[in-house]
């Protein structure tokens, strides 16, 4: 085993990784993305067209799968966790192993599923890289959120309900609220608040980072230019990455804290 990562984490990761692969869910997940992407190509899509069609699938499905599958997974691993905790294993290492054991296969399945058809057909370029990056980051973020919820709520029905609710809020309702806000406050300059609101929702953040590739012509318009200038700049990229990083670290940290104290 490697020396950089704690042995226990690596062991747990190795076990979980093979367990997740054995369960075939990740294989199905990867096959789904492969089938979808390949199908879009077969239906006469060009690289950009396929990416555009994938955009909403990525933004909706990845958070949903991440948050639901993540929560389910941790609930089901309950006995395994109890068994492991009977061994001389530190809780932090166990938690890290579990997290990596699920999120990395999921992210990998997505990258392979989308990436392979693009390798076969060509095209994609920087936009594909951004789509893959956004997909991977959203996977990491929403699995982290799921882990936190699964540790937070003892009752798995409640935990799952909150997970789905969180997804619904982030993926659909949030934008509705923002739209209502924009309409209500149309008399005010809302460019900067809009940027702040975007940073607060990882799904929106991912979407806007992709817009910079798909709709740059529209974004160069009067208001759009403000957005383009921000998100297209080094500062904007840094702020966006930091925001996504916080979305990853904060739930993971909260989850870990609870996991350490939890009485299994």
């Amino acid at each position: 085993m490697t020396t950089l990562i704690p042995t226990a984490t690596a062991r747990v990761f190795q076990y979980e990784f093979s367990d997740v692969l054995r369960s075939r869910w990740v294989t199905l997940y990867a096959l789904f993305f492969f089938g979808l992407t390949e199908g879009l190509f077969q239906f006469g899509g060009t690289g950009t067209g396929v990416l555009l069609s994938l955009l909403n699938v990525v933004l909706i499905l990845i958070p949903l799968v991440g948050v639901v599958f993540g929560a389910l997974y941790l609930y089901q691993a309950r006995e395994f966790v109890e068994l492991m905790l009977a061994q001389p294993v530190r809780r932090g290492e166990l938690f890290a192993g579990l997290y990596a054991g699920l999120s990395l296969p999921l992210a990998g399945g997505f990258v392979l599923g989308v990436g392979v058809p693009f390798l076969l057909h060509g095209g994609g370029g920087a936009t594909l890289a951004m789509l893959l990056a956004v997909g991977v980051l959203l996977t990491l973020v929403f699995v982290a959120l799921a882990f936190w919820l699964a540790v937070r709520f003892e009752d798995r029905v409640r935990g799952l309900a909150v997970a789905v609710g969180l997804w619904l809020a982030g993926a659909v309702l949030y934008d509705g609220l923002v739209l209502a806000l924009v309409a209500a406050l149309s008399a005010y300059p809302l460019e900067r608040p809009m940027i702040a609101l975007t940073l607060l929702n990882p799904i929106d953040l991912g979407r806007v980072l992709l817009l910079l590739h798909f709709d740059v012509s529209a974004l160069m318009g009067y208001t759009g230019a403000v957005f383009e200038r921000f998100f297209g700049s080094t500062l904007g990229a840094g702020v966006s990455l930091t925001a996504l990083g916080l979305w990853l670290i904060v739930p993971l940290g909260l989850g870990l804290r609870r996991f350490r104290r939890k009485d299994f």
Partner: protein
Amino acid sequence: MTSSVAADACPVCAGIAATGGGRTPGRPAGRWVVSLLALLALIGPVRAQTLVVDPAGPVASVREALAQAEPGARILVRPGIYREGALVIDRPVELVGEAGAVLDGDGTHQILTITADSVTVRGFTFRNVATSFVEDRAAVKVDEAWHVRIEGNRFEDTFFGIYLSRAAYVTVADNVLRGTRATESQSGNGIHLWYSRDVTITGNDVRGHRDGIYLEFVEDSVVEDNHSEGNHRYGLHFMFSDRCAYRRNVFRANDAGVAVMYTAHVEMTDNRFEHNWGPAAFGLLLKDITDSRVARNVFDRNTIGLYAEGSNRVDVIDNDFLANGWAVKIMADAEANRFVRNNFIANSFDVATNSRQHYSTFDGNYWDQYEGYDLDRDGVGDVPFRPVRLFTLLVERNEPALLLMRSFFVHLLDAAERVLPVLTPEALVDTHPVMHRLVR
């Protein structure tokens, strides 16, 4: 048609000197008049006089040669840098620069003013005409002259490049103009036409000026095969110029695109409007244009592809709108325009408007956002397409909402609105959307 004009070196003097005007019958009427006029001017000398300007003498300055020249003379200028201040051509001559012949304005003057008919200026490099906020200084100014040809010259760092005022039957062909001023206010127009008619502007390449090509009060003129790129305002600026046509030009990355205003009977065909990005950048801005045609053009990656305001009876046919922010923005004060057989592909917004009322028609276009079906397989979709989405309207009213583009929630809103239009213009609908991209 015009390429043959451009290739024909000097039809007036050379043709007549060689054949005594024997080739005139086969030519178009306008050119026949040219030849006749030139013939009249040439009645004195039998053979055209040729003067050679060379820095080593005997005639060492263009000014001297111009003073000696008889009407119809050919002045050949050998390579060298000539700093002679403002020169005036007041008689019909052919002024030809050999490669490396530079007329330098020394950073102050206008260089060449043409006040006589039937003058040809060819092959020079014009350089250094300073910015002026008082007068429109130009490298070459044609002032109340007819049948002038300005061809194959290069213009570097000139305020205005070629300036036509009260001119007619002028050809401006195959010139290269490179403005170097940094801002709009400091730079002049590349090719500037004011109060002229029957002018042909063809094969020129204009970059870095204020407006690449500018027409005001110009009639019956043609702008063809030019390339206008990176100018500080418009690639082509076109006002009060009835019955003009522009074809096969490329207008690329100009700060505000192309503007055509206050004009009737304009033919705009086979042009490319590309990459005009910015808060007020249009591929093509039509303001108060009537009875005109926009056909077979390509609008590629502009913030707004085609913007129409107060324009009536304009036919927009067989164009490709590709990857624009807004492919078409059409205001409700534009009436009876027809959008037929255009391709709308990969635009963020296909059509935007400012009202529920709408008086133009869309018919038989290809829309890549069309989701309908074609049960009878005749290539035409069975359900009409409404190119104005609810979200388009929301963005029109509240621009910051733009940041919600492609959000799932917005898709839901659009879908609901499509089923039951409440806010989007009911009349703005393509009843025969074609299923496949129209092949040109």
